[in-house]
Symmetry: none
Subunit: 225 residues, 2 copies
């Protein structure tokens, strides 16, 4: 149980809304601001998008079992079992150091491949899952910004921590964009992968579980607290 399992989650936050179904007819006002530039955009965008839309879906596929794992490999625990049951990730100094290094280098929201690699690297220093990496970047970015804002208010000037423009590429070929405080949106997508670290036994062969395999887990809630 507590053990966490693996889990993979993806998406982090999202939340929009929609409306009640059948109420047709009710139209409300239009969306307020959204449009702005859109007019143009839509067209352009659409077209444009379509064009490059090919996004690549690399499609990872499915794979559920991952990396090493798959089998029972249980990780022989590299070394730490630090994280008790399934509580929360407790980063080691090395891990933090690396993460900060990456952050300072400009990394903001690593994509799936990057997260995989980072996770793999950091895994050498202690247990960690992809989501931890993801969250770390999210939180760090947010808190860094928050801090900066606070200080600017207090001091009245804006420091604006210049971020060195170093491109840290981790070995991914893609490189990543960095955006410091860039404007609000960039929008890209992000994916993650994690590995299964915990592994208990379960998940072993693919064929085994019947029922299970069918599932794709989704948001899971570990425990209910």
């Amino acid at each position: 149980m507590g053990s966490s399992m693996k889990v993979h989650q993806f998406a982090r936050g999202f939340w929009p809304e929609h409306e009640p179904s059948l109420t047709l007819g009710c139209k409300r006002l239009r969306s307020l601001a959204p449009k702005l530039a859109n007019t143009v955009d839509s067209t352009t965008t659409t077209a444009g998008v379509a064009a490059f839309d090919l996004k690549s879906f690399i499609k990872p596929e499915s794979g559920p079992r991952s990396k090493f794992g798959s089998f029972d490999e249980k990780r022989d625990s590299p070394q730490v079992e630090t994280h008790p049951g399934g509580t929360r990730w407790n980063p080691t100094q090395e891990q933090i150091g690396i993460l900060e290094m990456l952050y300072k280098g400009g990394m903001r929201t690593p994509n799936a491949q990057q997260i995989e690699q980072i996770t793999a690297q950091l895994g050498k220093y202690g247990k960690i899952e992809g989501k931890n990496v993801f969250y770390w970047f999210q939180n760090h970015k947010a808190r860094e910004r928050q801090k900066q804002k606070r200080s600017s208010l207090g001091l009245g000037h804006c420091p604006r921590t210049p971020v060195p423009i170093t491109t840290i590429t981790l070995e991914t070929r893609g490189g990543f964009e960095r955006d410091q405080e860039v404007s609000p949106y960039k929008r890209k997508c992000r994916s993650w992968a994690s590995e299964s670290l915990e592994e208990e036994d379960q998940s072993k062969s693919c064929t085994d579980q019947e029922g299970d395999r069918t599932l794709e887990l989704f948001p899971l809630h570990p425990e209910g607290r």
Copy 2:
């Protein structure tokens, strides 16, 4: 693929909601600078977009392929090919109907198991992935609330939509809790996995795939856009 692994604890479910704090107060005004679109012409737009978007997007799971797809295989199209390329989920009426039914029954934020099952059921009516279910609930909840708030402001009364207490169990043995406005926080975690529901071929043996499968995605971001 799909094999997901396992684990999920029992997550039950409740979903915390938290309430909209009425006191928000802070509304933030964002600088809206974002849009590059306007003013600009195609060039900009294109360029801009291209720039951001092109990153890597790993797409999660199942996939999209379609467009040019060509990868091999893929779905024999059960029935609908409605989903064109691989763009975004385009729910069918049946799917929406079921989702709304669940929503009205009190389901708010389904946990992993629930999403799995819902996805499986809805998959009968058209292609769908777990994340779509998750997003749907998030969006529906948020927009429902938003609408209510707006109307309340306009009308000055508070409706408070009473939710019929019907327990919809989907066939999950567990049933789920419904929480309408349950207490404040519950906090649990959520994870996802995606799946591949494809059932068909693919994913059979575990050992097969090569590279891709390696990932198990976490927070995933479906596709890029």
